[in-house]
């Protein structure tokens, strides 16, 4: 069903698609990098929205998959394997496996306990990453050569890389939309709104939650592989709990359980950070204490924009 929301989402995507030619025209290649970074985090946020927004599982450990995906690329490259298919395949696969392992234990809990246990696992992975000296420890690893795709696409070409990320973003938006509106997604959302009733109808929540958790982890793993290529550098910081917090904020800020939400949230948070620090229109005392203003803005958004930024858009989401 095409609503007014779909048009707005389409318009945003169109604007994003237009960035490379416009940036080239205005001779501002930096914005290509900035918006590509926004899109990569949007992909991670979309994956988190799947479990947090639709599934009602507040995971404070989602950054772990960013790290696993990034390290999959980094570790393989470190040992001389530059093949993008292998690297990204491992990123997705490893993330899925770890998500299955963590999920099988965590998904049995809910509420604050779920938050804490996912946090615990992420912290353990983070300390593990810091202690492995072979892969740089907390100094991190440089990615000397970006993932190679045997001539199909050259990630060193900023525009080509941009469109690849854009393509993945659109794909994930579509996949999420389909998943959420399928029979599977309906059960997932039913579990989120009323678990007892869903059980009464005969659905066991556990397999649905676990499956969603694994899919979400795998998607985030791909975002991690993209991030590693974007910064050409990866560190255990990718897995830090504060990074998980940032992803959560993007999802909540954008509006949970909405298709466009994660994209809006990622764009808002990252662009706001960039603007508060560097926009010459703002006075110096804003630049110096930008975190103060960011904090105030976050509080105001929560108090006055109940359903996040997506809630400010006209029209209703089909699943509201």
């Amino acid at each position: 069903m095409i609503t007014s929301r779909t048009w707005i989402l389409a318009a945003i995507l169109l604007l994003l698609a237009a960035v490379p030619p416009v940036a080239a025209l205005l001779q501002q290649p930096f914005y290509l990098d900035l918006l590509r970074r926004v899109m990569i985090f949007a992909i991670a946020a979309i994956s988190l929205n799947l479990i947090l927004g639709y599934g009602g599982m507040v995971s404070f450990g989602h950054a772990a998959y960013l790290g696993i995906g990034a390290y999959a690329v980094g570790v393989l490259a470190h040992h001389g394997i530059d093949n993008g298919w292998l690297q990204w395949g491992l990123a997705i696969g490893a993330s899925a496996v770890v998500a299955a392992a963590i999920g099988s234990i965590s998904v049995r809990t809910s509420g604050i306990y779920f938050i804490m246990i996912t946090l615990a696992f992420t912290q353990m992975l983070y300390y593990l990453g810091v202690s492995i000296e072979e892969y740089g420890g907390d100094d991190g690893m440089r990615l000397k050569i970006r993932s190679q795709f045997s001539g199909l696409i050259d990630l060193n070409d900023p525009t080509a890389f941009y469109y690849l990320v854009f393509g993945i973003l659109v794909l994930f938006l579509y996949l999420t939309h389909r998943l959420v509106n399928s029979r599977f997604g309906m059960v997932l959302q039913a579990v989120r709104s009323n678990e007892a009733r869903t059980r009464a109808i005969g659905f066991s929540p556990y397999p649905y939650r676990l499956a969603t958790f694994i899919i979400s982890g795998a998607m985030c793993g791909l975002a991690g592989a993209l991030l590693a290529n974007q910064t050409a550098f990866l560190t255990p910081e990718f897995m830090n709990w504060t990074r998980s917090g940032e992803l959560m904020f993007m999802v909540i800020l954008g509006g949970i359980a909405s298709t466009a939400g994660p994209l809006l949230g990622a764009a808002a948070l990252l662009l706001l950070e960039d603007a508060l620090q560097g926009w010459s229109v703002l006075p110096k005392w804003v630049h110096e204490h930008w975190q103060l203003y960011l904090g105030v803005i976050l509080v105001l958004v929560v108090l006055f924009a109940r359903r996040g930024l997506a809630g400010l858009l006209p029209g209703r989401e089909r699943n509201d």
């Binding site: 946090l119 103060l292 904090g295 929560v302």
Partner: protein
């Protein structure tokens, strides 16, 4: 590895546990009764440390610094509750997480604007420094014994208030069934403000006790916040008893782990294993502990009845 060392490390674990308890008690009360996830609890800890250090420096009296610091944190806590948190009680946890995170950023920068980003000077007063000779071989810093003493006293006080006073009865009732308490005609908003103020004062107390021995700088709350969350999850949310047990357990496990894990690993497995795995494992220990507790007893060790 002699007995004296073990005894000393046990005291250290007790001291860390008691500090964690002061923070955890406030946080678990607020979560249990008002169903509010307050990430900014660490900010109140920071405010307590700053105010106490500032007043000590300004008046020259540590005691006055403590009193004014505590009072100041109480005022700040209540102000925050009235202005920002009241509207959050009905909202879901996600919104609370986002809003209180915003408050953390706000407070850290505010402190940085008022006192600068550098750590400020704070110290133990002369009459509380020095050591106490416990046995022939064991001497322990006086100040840390004071912390243990204060913490245990607060624990007893809280136990008394919660189980023997009317306010405590309301608190326990509110933790079990909020709606019913309101329906019975209790001014629930006043109750909430009192409870939050209590929690803020406890956090402030932890902060002003910690100030003289830790670095007092913006963001100091976040360093300890994660351990506090681990404590209340292990202990059981909404339960003071759980916070006490959880805090002592976490304090002991963390301290003893840091002290003895590497030597034990080196002795039992091999020195290189001890070197490699020891420090890393020690940092992960409390998270492992939490995961294990959650796997077997998801509601925590001493859950408050009826939640």
């Amino acid at each position: 590895m002699n007995l004296v060392l073990v005894a000393e490390q046990t005291l250290n674990g007790l001291q860390l546990g008691v500090m964690l308890f002061l923070l955890a008690a406030g946080l678990t009360l607020v979560f249990g009764i008002m169903n509010l996830v307050n990430l900014a609890h660490g900010a109140l800890y920071m405010v307590g440390a700053y105010l106490a250090a500032y007043f000590y420096e300004a008046t020259g009296s540590f005691a006055l610094g403590v009193v004014l610091g505590l009072a100041g944190t109480l005022v700040v806590g209540i102000a925050v509750e009235l202005v920002a948190l009241r509207t959050l009680y009905e909202r879901d946890h996600l919104d609370q997480v986002l809003a209180t995170f915003g408050l953390i950023l706000f407070f850290n920068e505010l402190i940085a604007i008022l006192w600068g980003r550098a750590a400020i000077y704070s110290t133990i007063p002369a009459y509380l420094s020095g050591h106490v000779q416990i046995t022939d071989n064991l001497r322990y810093p006086l100040y840390r014994l004071v912390i243990i003493g204060v913490g245990l006293a607060v624990a007893v006080l809280l136990w008394f208030v919660v189980s023997r006073t009317r306010l405590g009865m309301l608190i326990r009732a509110g933790a079990s069934n909020r709606a019913m308490v309101a329906a019975l005609g209790v001014d629930i908003r006043l109750l909430y403000t009192i409870v939050f103020g209590f929690g803020a004062a406890l956090a402030g107390l932890a902060g002003l006790l910690a100030g003289p021995i830790f670095s007092v700088q913006p963001g100091m709350g976040e360093l300890i916040l994660i351990q506090v969350f681990v404590v209340i999850v292990i202990g059981g949310i909404g339960s003071i008893r759980g916070a006490f047990a959880g805090a002592l357990i976490v304090g002991m496990v963390d301290t003893l782990g840091r002290a003895f894990l590497k030597p034990v690993l080196s002795a039992v497995i091999s020195p290189t294993a001890g070197d490699a795995a020891g420090p890393a494992l020690a940092s992960m220990l409390i998270y492992l502990l939490m995961a294990v507790v959650l796997a077997f007893r998801p509601e925590g060790l001493f859950p408050s009845r009826g939640s």
